[in-house]
């Protein structure tokens, strides 16, 4: 392969990457602007909150409960080495509120509802339903994307609260009924050591993760390639990209929020 061909391929790759980034930013800018332009489709928003939020509650219940239970077991084991098992409650609660609940909720919702959104929008793209919307003078960004983005931003913090509550409940049950920790001490230490800034930190993370969820899954569906292979690829890319983005952004958010709040 000649150097010229290699350079050309490299150049084309760079142009394609820059173009894809630009297109993703234009997409989200149009979606955000669409939020403020009438008509406001409340019914579509509520349907998406039902799809993304309410229909994820069961899985969040399960994951949250068992995550809290595991944290209690691991926490009690580690803290017992320092004679500090009384701190198991705050350890479970702070781990959940500040870190695990926002991240695991986001990952679960991306896997469950995100893949469904990308596949649904992608199929609408390849079966000309999005073209049909445009032909009927209905803006697909405002009709399809705005309700999904908003539903992600609204649902994620609510699900995170459910996750945290059930997680603490799971930790409490395992800690007090199986590991023999004192119920009063478990809850008392949580109340004494968890502040509103911890809760705010988790909520801010959830809001940002909800935004990432909506952006990535809608964009990948909207720009999906041709046929079943195109939808398959878009769905896989959406789940991987959104999950990685959540973990990367989580690091930077944690760093920034720790400096701001603590």
């Amino acid at each position: 392969m000649s150097a010229a061909v290699s350079i050309e391929r490299f150049g084309r790759g760079v142009i394609n990457s820059v173009s894809a980034w630009g297109s993703a930013w234009v997409f989200i800018a149009e979606t955000i602007l669409g939020i403020f332009r009438p008509p406001f489709r409340l019914r579509l928003l509520l349907r998406q909150i039902l799809e993304i939020g309410f229909n994820s509650v069961l899985v969040i219940f399960l994951i949250g409960g068992f995550t809290g239970a595991v944290l209690a077991v691991q926490g009690e084991y580690t803290l017992s080495k320092f004679g500090a098992t009384a701190w198991t409650g705050p350890m479970v609660a702070l781990s959940l509120i500040r870190e695990l609940a926002p991240v695991l909720t986001a990952l679960m919702v991306i896997g469950r509802a995100g893949s469904a959104i990308t596949a649904e929008v992608g199929i609408m793209r390849i079966t000309e339903q999005i073209d049909a919307l445009r032909s009927m003078a209905v803006d697909p960004i405002r009709y399809l994307m705005v309700p999904r983005l908003l539903a992600g931003i609204i649902s994620m913090p609510l699900l995170m609260c459910v996750f945290t509550t059930i997680g603490i409940g799971g930790g409490y049950l395992v800690g007090t009924k199986i590991l023999g920790l004192a119920p009063g001490s478990f809850m008392g230490q949580i109340i004494s050591n968890v502040d509103m800034v911890d809760v705010n930190s988790g909520l801010i993370k959830s809001l940002v993760f909800g935004f990432i969820f909506g952006w990535v899954t809608c964009y990948k569906g909207y720009t999906c390639g041709f046929g079943a292979v195109g939808v398959n690829k878009a769905t896989t890319q959406a789940v991987v990209t959104a999950s990685v983005a959540v973990l990367v952004v989580d690091y930077f958010l944690t760093s920034i929020l720790t400096r701001i709040f603590f």
Binding site: I123, M124, T127, E128, Q129, D131, A132, R134, S135, M136, A137, V138, D139, Y143
Partner: protein, 249 residues
């Protein structure tokens, strides 16, 4: 009505349309034919303003949809167009009734009763009444095309664009779709552009034939001109022969 002026469209290095100019006659059905991949559906999407040409213009009632500065302006120009898509493109989550009512709910301020009257009229006219509660996936493709036609007609547009009307249909249902186009054209008197490669079925509905080949208009005339053309490419296309100037892409 619709005037296509010197349209050039390419995808990457592939030139699809290379200087197409065409004026649609009001009240007539114009059929665009040509081998697969020649750019027939691209032409339709250019008329709709869903794709933009590299060069040239598409005027709808004297207004350029290609040079419209914003989506609302394009939407305003599109208001006079209805489309029947190749796969009907009905919304999966909506019933037959809601699919037909969709443009009225989104683009007009009509109340529920007025919308019901208009939708019911079309359901009856196109023999769809018994299917009104069904979802698109619960009815046949032929019936979905019927619903797609009802949705295209609900805003009473002056122009209907029809993409490959009988793709995926058996000959009997395919004929039924052509009968539907004839019936609707007679009743509503719209101007139509039909994109097709189905010969000779399309001759029964069309007033004017356009054949696209290698990005250009290869032949323009009546169905009679088309059938009697001595052009080897036209005859190869009509007879469906492998040998000739048209190569398989």
């Amino acid at each position: 009505m619709i005037s296509i002026q010197n349209i050039h469209k390419r995808f990457g290095s592939q030139v699809v349309l290379n200087g197409i100019s065409l004026d649609l006659e009001p009240g007539k059905i114009t059929t665009v034919v040509g081998p697969s991949g020649v750019g027939k559906s691209v032409l339709l999407k250019l008329i709709l303003g869903i794709l933009s040409p590299e060069e040239g213009d598409v005027l709808i009632d004297g207004r350029s949809i290609t040079k419209a500065r914003s989506e609302p302006e394009r939407n305003d120009i599109r208001a006079n167009l209805g489309v029947l898509f190749q796969s009907a493109a009905l919304f999966d989550s909506l019933s037959v009734y809601d699919n037909i009512a969709f443009p009225l709910r989104e683009r007009t301020n009509l109340n529920r009763l007025d919308i019901h009257d208009k939708v019911s009229f079309l359901l009856n006219s196109l023999s769809l009444s018994q299917y009104h509660k069904k979802l698109p996936q619960e009815i046949s493709l032929g019936m979905r095309k019927r619903v797609g036609m009802a949705r295209a007609l609900i805003m009473e547009p002056e122009v209907i664009l029809i993409d490959e009307p009988n793709t995926g249909l058996d000959p009997i249902v395919g004929q039924e779709v052509y009968d539907l186009i004839k019936y609707c054209h007679k009743e509503w008197g719209f101007t139509a552009v039909v994109i097709s490669h189905e010969l000779p079925e399309v001759f029964q509905v069309t007033d004017k034939m356009i054949m696209l080949l290698k990005g250009r208009i290869h032949l323009e005339g009546t169905p009679h001109d088309f059938i009697n053309s001595t052009d080897p490419a036209v005859q190869q296309f009509i007879q469906g022969k492998l040998d000739g100037p048209i190569s398989i892409q």
